[in-house]
Structures are given as structure tokens and as C-alpha cells.
């Protein structure tokens, strides 16, 4: 193979090297994206890292097929999302939590909520209850700092669709958690 490659000066070998360099450049940014997407689904660092590894490995194997490198991040995000969902389903880790958890049993100051385990657990439940399309947009939006254009680019869908999905997702999440902050104004 080396002899064959050598007989084609400046073509395949150089292309492969360029491709390898290009992939190397992607390692600066994409693993974090893949990891965070997986984390948004799995909520477990070790599992998320495994999924991110697998996503990057698949990216390596298929890098030459990606005609448009600008779409690579989107490809990675979607792959990581799909792999994370597969892992979640395969492992049966998506716990069916008791519906009693939905009852409003406590009220708390809003600013304390984010840090509270109760809020985090309820939020995780509410996220799990979201339709997949809404959940995906919500996770990517959180990663991208709620930049709808970026999310639209990653998912290759119109920006308006992202906005409407984000609205529905946030509304559903807020309504699910409203009981936790019932009549508790911010200080």
C-alpha cells in the first residue's frame, strides 16, 4: 500500500494527511459538544464520556464522507444524541419515577431551587417527559447559550422551528415545576 501511495505523489497520501490534520483540529472543540449533548440525555459523566468517545470514533471513521465540514458539529451533536438515547434505552436507566413526585409538597425560594436536589430531580423528570424533539432543542440551546441560530445550524432545521420548540419546551418545563415555587416571589 505504501508503494502504491508513493506512486501517486501529492494525491492520496497528502489528502489523507490533510484529512487527519483536519480531524485533529476538530478534536479541539467537538468532544466537549458530544460530551455535553450526551450528558443532557444521560446525566452521568462517565456514561456521557463513553458516548462522546463512540461519537468521535464514528466521526473519525466517516470523516472522509462528510462533504461539508461546517456541518461536522451538527453531525457530531446528532450522533451523540442518538447514541446517548440508545444507551439509555439499552440500559433501562430511564427510571419511571413515582407520579407522587408530581405532587406539590414543598415551597421554596426560587433562587435556592436551582441548587436544590428536589428541583434538579423534578427538572430531570420534566425533561424526560418532554417529547424528544423538544428535549433535543432544549439541551442544545442550553449548550449553545440559547442561541437559536446555532441550534438551527446544528439540527439543520429552520430557526423558527427551533424557537417554537424552545418555547413549548420551556413552557412545559416551567408548568411542571410551577408547584415548587407556588406563590413564592423572588427576593
Amino acid at each position: 500500500m505504501d508503494a502504491l501511495a508513493a506512486s501517486l505523489p501529492g494525491t492520496a497520501v497528502n489528502d489523507d494527511a490533510a484529512l487527519a490534520r483536519e480531524f485533529d483540529a476538530c478534536l479541539a472543540d467537538c468532544p466537549k459538544l458530544a460530551y455535553r449533548v450526551a450528558l443532557g440525555v444521560l446525566r452521568n459523566g462517565a456514561d456521557a464520556e463513553d458516548v462522546a468517545q463512540e461519537a468521535m470514533l464514528r466521526a473519525y471513521r466517516n470523516f472522509h464522507r462528510l462533504r461539508n465540514r461546517e456541518r461536522f458539529r451538527g453531525w457530531i451533536a446528532r450522533t451523540a444524541w442518538r447514541l446517548a438515547l440508545d444507551r439509555l434505552r439499552a440500559a433501562g436507566r430511564r427510571e419511571k419515577r413515582e407520579s407522587a413526585a408530581a405532587e406539590c409538597s414543598s415551597e421554596a425560594k426560587v433562587e435556592d431551587l436551582v441548587a436544590s436536589r428536589e428541583f434538579q430531580r423534578r427538572l430531570a423528570d420534566a425533561m424526560d417527559a418532554l417529547p424528544e424533539k423538544l428535549r433535543q432543542v432544549m439541551v442544545l440551546a442550553a449548550i449553545e447559550g440559547y442561541n437559536t441560530r446555532e441550534v438551527a445550524t446544528l439540527l439543520e432545521i429552520p430557526e423558527g422551528t427551533v424557537r417554537s420548540r424552545m418555547f413549548l419546551a420551556r413552557k412545559q418545563l416551567a408548568e411542571s415545576l410551577r408547584c415548587l415555587v407556588k406563590n413564592t416571589p423572588i427576593g
Binding site: 506512486s7 492520496a12 456521557a48 439541551v139 416551567a174 416571589p185
Partner: protein, 238 residues
């Protein structure tokens, strides 16, 4: 009734979905209604808490060993030179060589037929195919001194087939349609064959990797159809 109306607006307002006029109306109401103001502040804070909660959910970095682990796994993968790209490139070179040889032969034949010997050197172009280690292109006229080509040529002429059938070009499997379309383009003047031949001569130079969006082929191609018909006739006579 007034509070019920504005209460229904609160979530939309907190999510930024309320219009300017409605937002101003809501603000005016909450300024004078302590119950709705309290409700508004609660919902607004809740939405912020949700956003922050989801952000916290996805916040985090892969471990410091992530990239080194990935590189170790990549090292176990086939080497980059074994990537399918390489095979594709070989295939691409073979196709390019086949197309170049086909065009050159067509040009020569057409020129000979109409104006005597053509200025394009078919041997130069055939070398392109020979330089490519995977090229399967061969012109029977060039590969040997055997009489097959000329016999076929004479036989073909005897059957009244067009001149371009007189030379055989072996095209890689699956590339015949492309080669025919290319030759059709040259013959009809849609493609500048001489310029293409010059470009093909430079194929030994480093090629640039560039993704192409290939348009679907539009059928029919008159000369392709003619070729098929001629082949069918030939088969009948044999």
C-alpha cells in the same frame, strides 16, 4: 376577570412570547395588582430557574484523558491511508484516465475523419492511464500491435457503424455511462474536448480534494442510444 386575563398572559410573558403592546398592558396591570405582580415575579423566576437548571444539567467537560483515550482507540483503527477515501481516489483516477482516453480517441477519430490527423496526441493521454497503478484503461490500438483493434475497426466500418466504434476503450465497471455521456458532450461540442484533454495531461500533478454535487443525468443521450442500437444490430448479425 381582569386578573384571570392577565394570569393567562404571565407564562407567555416570562417566555418572551408576548407582543410589545400586550407586555405594556400587563406591566400596567401588575403595577396596580399585587396578586398578579407576585404571580408574575414567581413565574419569571421559575423560567429563569428552569433555564439555569438545564444549563447546569449539560455543564461539564470531558475528562483530561478524553482525547488521549480517543487517540488510543483511533490508533487501533485502520491507518488513514486505508480509509475508503483512498480507494475512492484510485477509482476516481481510473475514471479520469478512462474518460481522458475516451475523449482523446474520439477527438482523434473525429479529426481524422473530417480534417486529417488531429493535434491531440492520443499516446500522451493514454500515458495518464498507464501512470495510474489502478487504471484499467487500454486502447487496443495502443496496448499492442495485434490486429484486434484494426480488425474490429475494419469490421465495424464494414457494418456502417460510426467511426467512434472502431476503437475499444475498457472502462472500469460502473463507469461506462459516465464515459459515454462525457464523449457525447465532447462530440456535441458541449464540452471542450481539447481543453479537457489538456487538463487530463496535468492529472499527474497533485489533485485537489473537492466535494462535488453531481447533478442527476438527464436522459436520453442520442449517441448513447445510437450506440446501444448499433450494438444490438451487431449482436444480431453475429
Amino acid at each position: 376577570m381582569s386578573c384571570e386575563k392577565y394570569s393567562n398572559w404571565l407564562m407567555g410573558a416570562a417566555l418572551g412570547a408576548l407582543g410589545d403592546a400586550e407586555m405594556a398592558e400587563l406591566r400596567a396591570h401588575t403595577a396596580g395588582c399585587s396578586h398578579c405582580r407576585s404571580e408574575w415575579e414567581t413565574i419569571r423566576a421559575l423560567v429563569v430557574a428552569v433555564d439555569r437548571g438545564v444549563e447546569a444539567m449539560v455543564a461539564g467537560e470531558p475528562s483530561a484523558q478524553f482525547v488521549s483515550r480517543l487517540r488510543a482507540r483511533i490508533a487501533e483503527e485502520p491507518t488513514p491511508s486505508a480509509w475508503p477515501l483512498f480507494a475512492w481516489r484510485q477509482f476516481g483516477l481510473a475514471t479520469l484516465a478512462a474518460a481522458a482516453a475516451t475523449i482523446a480517441i474520439l477527438l482523434v477519430r473525429t479529426a481524422e475523419h473530417e480534417h486529417g490527423p488531429a493535434s491531440v496526441d492520443v499516446n500522451t493521454l493514454t500515458k495518464i492511464g498507464q501512470q495510474s497503478p489502478v487504471s484499467r484503461v487500454s486502447s487496443l490500438e495502443n496496448t499492442s500491435a495485434n490486429g484486434n483493434a484494426s480488425r474490429r475497426h475494419r469490421g465495424a466500418s464494414a457494418h456502417g457503424r460510426p467511426d467512434f466504434f472502431s476503437t475499444e476503450v475498457l472502462v472500469p465497471r460502473g463507469q461506462m455511462a459516465a464515459a459515454l455521456v462525457l464523449s457525447e458532450g465532447v462530440s456535441t461540442g458541449k464540452i471542450d474536448g481539447v481543453q479537457l484533454a489538456r487538463l487530463a495531461e496535468r492529472s499527474a500533478e497533485p489533485l485537489e480534494w473537492r466535494a462535488l454535487d453531481i447533478e442527476p443525468l438527464a436522459a436520453p443521450y442520442p449517441r448513447v442510444e445510437a450506440m446501444k442500437a448499433a450494438n444490438a444490430d451487431d449482436g444480431d448479425q453475429n
